[in-house]
Symmetry: D2
């Protein structure tokens, strides 16, 4: 931590701040500048949260951390990429893993039809929502356990492992029973009770970025899962909220190389939510892979115009197949494959 003192601070104040730093277990190191004094507090930054309280002293201008506050998620702690095995796919390995399927499981026919078609196009994981977080209480809330069973049936029929969302701690067990990856949605990225609970589950976790979660906060949320004992965390960029309204969200592909620098965890991109319009999904899927993503999460529906949720951003199966052939060429251009 760097503690910046206000200009004109007395020597007694400097001494007082140094004393407080020592009392919290750190070693102060003071630099006397021309206009201001700055004190470095030496010790492990990760426990230094308490030093921030010094900002409430009248003589302190600001308290700035030097180290990233996450530890288990950090590439400084583990240099080699984490690889998460799901069925016979490996997220974070050489190949791009595409997870595709409907936003919501709506019927047996719908999910089986899509499952066969996304598999034929090269998807390695089937996505589908059974418990749905909906902005309005009056919108379709998902088929719940019935939906989970339909996903499991699609897995039996196609061999595709399944990813689906879990929304509350109490449902982790039942979702884990039917699912191969537990998805934490954007709205739950700082639902710490849920993060702790999936940290104890034996299944991989795909953690979506919140719509206004900074990359640092996102990695701290991953840290909750890792600290709970679950090393299999996949990060998913899905668009952040900005002033632009031409798209539903702004897909932040900068996050891909930033994450590749900061963490060893695999990174997946969701261009369906990240744009909100099916017409833009293919371009952004290609861009995501070119930026270095390890996988894609894409919404596919046999009849988007009748979908019970997210119709505007869902691709028809034939458009998805076209996307896959184009994304494959990008993957090969970066010496990977699908």
């Amino acid at each position: 931590m760097i503690i910046v003192l206000k200009s004109g601070t007395s020597e007694a104040d400097v001494t007082d701040v140094e004393r407080r730093i020592r009392a919290m277990g750190y070693t102060p190191h003071t630099i006397h500048g021309e206009l201001r004094n700055v004190i470095g507090a030496i010790g492990d930054d990760r426990g230094k949260e308490r030093l921030r309280a010094l900002e409430s002293l009248e003589c302190v201008e600001s308290v700035t951390p030097i180290l990233q506050p996450f530890k288990l998620a950090s590439r400084e702690v583990k240099r080699a990429n984490t690889q998460v095995a799901v069925g016979n796919a490996v997220v974070g390995g050489r190949d791009i893993v595409v997870m595709a399927g409907p936003c919501s499981v709506e019927s047996r026919w719908q999910v089986l039809d899509v499952a066969h078609r996304v598999k034929a196009a090269g998807a390695r994981v089937l996505r589908g929502g059974a418990f749905k977080p909906r902005t309005s209480p009056y919108a379709f809330q998902g088929l719940e356990e019935e939906g989970l069973k339909l996903l499991a049936e699609a897995r039996r029929e196609t061999g595709l492992p399944v990813i689906t969302e879990v929304m509350e701690p109490d449902k982790v067990d039942v979702v884990a029973e039917y699912s191969d990856i537990l998805q934490i949605g954007a709205r739950n990225v700082q639902n710490f009770s849920l993060l702790r609970r999936v940290g104890e589950a034996g299944k991989p976790v795909l953690l979506k970025r919140g719509m206004s979660t900074s990359i640092q906060e996102w990695l701290l949320s991953a840290e909750y899962v890792l600290a709970g004992g679950n090393p299999n965390v996949i990060l998913c960029e899905r668009g952040i909220r900005t002033f632009e309204t031409a798209t539903r969200f702004t897909l932040d592909l900068n996050a891909v190389p930033v994450l590749k620098k900061l963490t060893h965890l695999p990174v997946v991109v969701d261009p369906s939510h990240g744009t909100g319009h099916w017409e833009y999904v293919e371009s952004m899927a290609m861009a995501g892979v070119a930026a270095g993503a390890d996988g894609l999460l894409i919404e596919v529906h046999p009849k988007p115009e009748e979908a019970l949720s997210d119709g505007p951003q869902s691709l028809k199966p034939d458009k998805f197949a076209m996307l896959m052939s184009r994304v494959r060429k990008i993957a090969q251009a970066v010496e990977r494959d699908i």
Copy 2:
């Protein structure tokens, strides 16, 4: 809903969209413009979410809702202000209700000391966190049930009703046992499982705005609680996330008059989180009341420089007393009182 068709759409396409609108139970009304056709879909907009799926048709440019999607929260449905009684205070009545206390309950001495002092200064409700949502798993997570008991003791000693946060559905009962108002934090504003659960609780709910929640989404979250059968919802503006870094968040006081227009629910402002710096809290508390807020939520700590959380934004008790005297003058200028 207004469905805008792309320019150059054929008459057959228009007929097809009209047919689909009828199939969903609405009446289409087509306006033939000079460059585009526009179709109004007549019926209750609140169930019209499904019409949005039409946006996935090639011939459709956009689908735009006309009505606000919330119902029970709307001032169109209930014109009179909702008043929420808490102890002998009424949130949403003539008087400004100030809720004050520490970010976290840290010790018996701390919470009792603050409780007496904020009461003496005119606060009507004691705030304090027992279950703390912390960005980092390594930060202080709260005293949990022990903290709830200390709050209850402070209530017995001072007579102040208590507000504290509940973070997961399973804890609603225990928090409701000790608390007079259940606080839903910014990070849980779209934790729909939790919203449904507090909708069934018999205690008032204070619902904080998420850091990137639009006012419309926020009111839909309130709608979850109201639809669950709990009419006592208080909304709390606590700052949104923007590009500005001079403050921790940007307190959106525009939200106060916007909410007063759209909804009958009472509105409270939290200048402590909304600024993140104690030096700005008083000014923004005054501004909040001038903008029309019904109450304030303010962090007070006997020793902010040693606080286990949110020290930089906590006021010392004497500064809080000063704030109260200034806010009182603003309240009187708008024909209210504290």
Copy 3:
């Protein structure tokens, strides 16, 4: 400046960075932390921009400034509030100065009618646009010099000094001839050629914040004017761009106390642009004064529904008179007046 080195940096790298710091004219002061080394570069931060280039070295993690980069605008350099005299009003003095009038000057009748009515209600300065920055080239662009003459006529008739916008360096002389305050619009806040030019003008400058300008950048723009030799700069908060669409912009009232801490320049609030809807203007005008603003800038039009620009956010004269009576009470509650 604080230069943070990456973990695992060699002693040779530390020495190299120290050498480079010295070569740029600063004194390095190295703190050896547990995980990282941090180097403070001592000297005047305001010229230290070049030190930022060190961030491109492989061994450097980040370069963080300690001092605010503005100087003449800083309260550390000049503690006493700057007061800007305009006609017989003083912006930054005890009284709140309200500047009111139409968005655009549209006709002789319109501007004279409004001028008399805002004066009667207590406004001290007449606002009106002659050169209009319009998003679309097809929108009304202002009456230009003809508009300036009408403003001057209104000043003669009412005695109210005039504020109007100047959009390009070449027009500064003609605008200064007719106007008492030169307004720099939000879209020109970083038009540095224009800032330099008004820095040489003999008239006060009202500098609006850009819609995504940080407070620090805004003060650096003010610094351009001050460094040009013009000490009479008024800052005007007019709303920033955020994700919220219920209002046209998000009026950032946090900026008022932040500015009052950082700078000696007077601060004015524009609730008309800051909300974009006439229904919210009064509440936010009151909030702005309660937050500590020295003045208000408000759009008033005799027939908003026929205005050539900004009709939705313009008040009718009788609504403006009501606003003034309410704002006066707030001003008195903070020991000021209108």
Copy 4:
């Protein structure tokens, strides 16, 4: 335009709004909904700006435009891609055009050295700043006309056409004399005087997006240039301002497919400003091309650690050559080349 009336509006009010619409030259078409009446105003939307003023009527809830407000920039008006010839490169044709060079021209040696090296790596245009828009008045402001001459010398030596920024209307002629493309910087995207002036220049214009300019506003700025008679406009996405601080800006690659849908103008991506860190430039350059961009704008400096501006985001020449070889593979994967 769609005019939405408030619920409970009287028939007399509806008639009054219809009358006003007719008075402005449009044909009203009223839809009587269950809860609200909606009036479509038929006529050319592009002149309908004035209809927005109806929003100030008490009975009007909102006024929503249906058509995009730009015309010459629209793909509806001109379907074929615009191709802008610069030297022997064509921006908007089959090949990706890479424009590279230093942020600022600093010396003869620097600009010539970089020019030769970026040419050798495959760049087709030399970039370099002579007039620099700098946030601080105390930062290096560019070599001005001396810098233009050095750029012209580099062009003679290498044959590379030159792009450089123009900051004010008065300098358009001198910059056009030395430069092949006139760059309008992000801070001037709504400097309408400057846009009008370059609309009259005989040179292509590269128009950067502002840091908080919506795509619609950006295209309206392009419309100013096109309406001035200059058809050769290149759009450049360079990152928008968001809450994320891990990167300097958030490069909005969603904008690429959105622009490709809305407009015929070529689109270039600037990953140097869009990320602010040299380590992320290569990934985002690749992503930009995969998303469909027609070109790249990249900062290259022989010694970034001594650069007078933008050192942290500048690539060394050898890193730039590496980037080019990787971007070429992506270009080929999308059936283009460099």
